[in-house]
């Protein structure tokens, strides 16, 4: 191979190496996201929320996300499972460490879905009433435990401070040792005939009664504790719009904690007040409403069909499949941008091919004349030169693919080293899917053949008489 041809091939090699390295980076990230979506079952997960009328733009009635709604959602074709987000504030005692946290109640079926199955160690609980819990990696680390193996099978104590309406009511009559008689003694009974005094006394007593109720409701809590066995440790990671709490407990086991009433958490109290559940009997779950519900979809059913059915029931939805479509769009443009940069390098290399081929024609003018005198048709001469530029492109592309792959391996090894050192979860940044290899081959050879068009036309047009002239 002539030095000039070698250098031209090297130009194609470098351009293709740059082209595939960049596209490989895009493909690697896309693969990572797709794999993560698949592993977490996000393609088959949909979130349902009650409609918010806060902005006033939607005037349609907003149904409650309660047990009845769950049943209606379950009846939609293509819905495998429906489970609400149902969480309580708890204290978790893990060894000697007491940690304030939140616990989420789940059915065993829901806990076995892909969304909750990303385990560092162990597995989901056995049944809805088993005395087991799945805890998160973060909680484990908060407790100062580094070995997940050592935690599986260990007991944790989960406790909830429960406030009841009864304890609030009891405090209306008695507070800080002061009895009803003591309070009556402070009232001037003969002055009650005075309207102004009477109204002042009533207002004062009402204020005191509410204060005493709230005092009793929030402070005179009953502590409910339970000892649960850790059966699984969930891998750390953000789940975006899906709320997964550090402690996951079976739904029937969790019911014990909320059976006494509400936890002392003010947010829960206000939520119960706004939903009209404050004075409901806690053992009546039919009245409970939820802030969000998760739907596990049949993978063979189009998410859009289910989404439309859910929205028709009057709820808002959030689908990861829809979000993935947006991500794919982003990656399409991302890959395009990277591809264009690579293509510019390739076009530059193609100018090298044009130059080499034109030089080659000048040098091989006599050879072209000889071939024509032997009966070569112009198309055959043109084909000969197109094949030559195509071969330069093919050799350059194959070598460029190998070089690009080598570059990505080196960069990947360096990235892995730093990820490990910084404690980041390791991931493969580059991917070489078949479509990338085929695209590189098509682009590399295609651009080279295009670059050969002009020289080939010149070669075909060589005048044999001129070419064979003795001088």
């Amino acid at each position: 191979m002539k030095l000039r041809t070698f250098l031209t091939t090297a130009g194609v090699l470098i351009a293709i190496a740059a082209f595939v390295s960049m596209l490989s980076f895009g493909a690697g990230n896309q693969e990572n996201i797709t794999r993560e979506f698949n592993e977490l079952g996000l393609f088959t997960t949909m979130q349902v929320y009650p409609k918010s009328n806060a902005n006033g733009s939607d005037t349609s009635p907003s149904p409650k996300l309660d047990r009845t709604a769950l049943e209606r959602l379950s009846a939609i074709p293509g819905v495998n499972l429906v489970y609400p987000y149902d969480a309580i504030t708890v204290k978790v005692k893990l060894g000697d460490t007491l940690i304030a946290s939140k616990a989420q109640a789940l059915t065993a079926a829901a806990a076995r879905t892909k969304l909750f199955s990303n385990m560092l160690k162990g597995k989901a609980f056995d049944g809805d009433s088993s005395r087991q819990a799945v805890i998160s990696e973060e909680l484990m680390k908060k407790a100062g435990i580094t070995s997940p193996e050592s935690l599986i099978g260990r007991s944790i104590v989960v406790s909830v401070g429960v406030s009841t309406v009864d304890s609030g009511l009891a405090h209306i009559l008695t507070d800080r040792g002061e009895s009803v008689i003591d309070r009556l003694k402070r009232i001037h009974l003969d002055s009650l005939r005075n309207g102004s005094y009477r109204r002042r006394v009533i207002r004062s007593e009402m204020n005191d009664a509410v204060r005493r109720f709230l005092n009793g409701f929030t402070n005179a809590q009953e502590i409910i504790s339970d000892s649960l066995t850790v059966c699984g440790i969930r891998r750390a990671g953000q789940m975006g719009r899906i709320r997964i709490e550090p402690v996951i407990i079976p739904v029937a086991t969790a019911a014990r904690f909320s059976s006494g009433g509400l936890s002392g958490n003010l947010a829960e109290i206000f939520a119960a007040m706004s939903s009209g559940n404050l004075f409901s009997r806690p053992e009546d779950p039919g009245n409970k409403t939820f802030s969000q519900v998760t739907i596990d979809l049949d993978p063979h059913v189009l998410y859009k069909t289910v989404r439309d059915s859910v929205q028709a029931l009057g709820f808002k939805t959030f689908s990861f499949a829809a979000q993935f479509e947006e991500i794919q769009k982003f990656f399409f443009y991302f890959d395009m941008a990277l591809g264009v940069v690579g293509l510019i390098a390739l076009i530059t290399a193609s100018l090298g091919i044009v130059n080499t081929m034109v030089m080659s024609i000048t040098e091989r003018k006599r050879e072209i004349g000889i071939l024509k005198s032997l009966g070569a048709y112009e198309l055959e001469i043109r084909t000969l030169f197109l094949v030559e530029s195509g071969v330069i492109g093919l050799i350059g592309t194959v070598a460029g693919l190998i070089a690009g792959w080598t570059i990505t391996r080196i960069v990947s090894a360096i990235a892995h080293f730093y990820m490990k050192r910084e404690g980041f979860p390791e991931m493969e940044l580059f991917a070489f899917p078949l479509w990338l290899i085929l695209t590189a081959l098509a682009v590399g050879v295609g651009v080279s053949v295009l670059a050969g068009l002009y020289p080939a036309a010149r070669a075909a047009g060589v005048d044999p008489v001129e070419a064979l002239r003795n001088d």
Binding site: R366, E367, G369, I370, L371, K372, S373, L374, G375, A376, Y377, E378, L379, E380, P464, V465, L468, N470
Partner: protein, 239 residues
């Protein structure tokens, strides 16, 4: 027996423009005919239009006016593809400077002539080897032109011209670059080929060789036919 005309030119003109003013009349109303099986020698001084005539007869060049007919078919009526096919199947050419492809072996050079008439690869190799052997180059088949002597190179060139069994062979000063002994050998080869029935048109400066081997010699002078001489009898030739 009447001679069968293989090739004929009618008032053949080929003019070139040299600069904006000057017109060179390489051929100016040239009419000849070449009969089947004839060995025609064309002689003339440099610039008389011999090579131009050969290029026009071989279909490598197009006339300014007039026509060339091969077996009664004007070359000007042929498409470019048909002209290429005419060169690939009917015409063999031998050049003064051999015009071999320097990076091909002798065998590959000869095989190339069969590529354009679509001879299958195995047959190409067999025929090329046989012709080289016939011309005494059996032990030079894998040699490249720079490794061969002038005489050997011209024999390879002749082998390339005849391997496709053409109807007519055009030789443009085939011995011009050779010493006496090699020139004699090449002339003898051409004579043998002619005796086997091949029509040959040879341009040469070598009057002696033309006298010895050609049936007829035509003289050219500045694009015109200056004379024609019958040197030895051939079937159906008229002086």
């Amino acid at each position: 027996m009447a001679a069968e005309i293989r090739l004929r030119t009618l008032s053949l003109c080929r003019y070139y423009r040299r600069g904006p003013q000057e017109e060179v009349r390489a051929l100016d109303g040239f009419t000849i005919q070449v009969n089947r099986g004839e060995f025609l020698g064309i002689v003339g001084s440099s610039g008389s239009g011999k090579s131009t005539l050969l290029n026009l007869l071989a279909g490598l060049d197009s006339p300014t006016s007039g026509s060339v007919e091969f077996d009664g078919v004007p070359l000007s009526s042929m498409s470019r593809r048909q002209l290429a096919s005419y060169r690939a199947r009917n015409v063999g050419m031998v050049f003064q400077s051999f015009n071999l492809i320097s990076h091909y072996t002798a065998l590959q050079n000869v095989e190339t002539a069969l590529y354009f008439n679509f001879t299958p690869p195995k047959e190409r190799r067999r025929l090329a080897a046989a012709v080289l052997e016939q011309l005494g180059l059996a032990d030079r088949m894998t040699h490249r032109p720079p490794d061969l002597s002038g005489g050997e190179q011209q024999r390879v060139s002749v082998a390339r011209a005849i391997v496709k069994k053409p109807e007519i062979l055009f030789a443009d000063e085939p011995t011009g670059n050779l010493d006496y002994e090699n020139a004699r050998q090449i002339a003898a080869i051409l004579d043998t080929l002619n005796r086997e029935g091949l029509t040959i048109v040879m341009v040469t400066h070598n009057q002696e060789m033309a006298q010895q081997y050609a049936h007829r010699i035509i003289r050219m002078h500045y694009g015109h036919l200056a004379g024609s001489t019958l040197t030895r009898p051939s079937a159906g030739l008229m002086p």
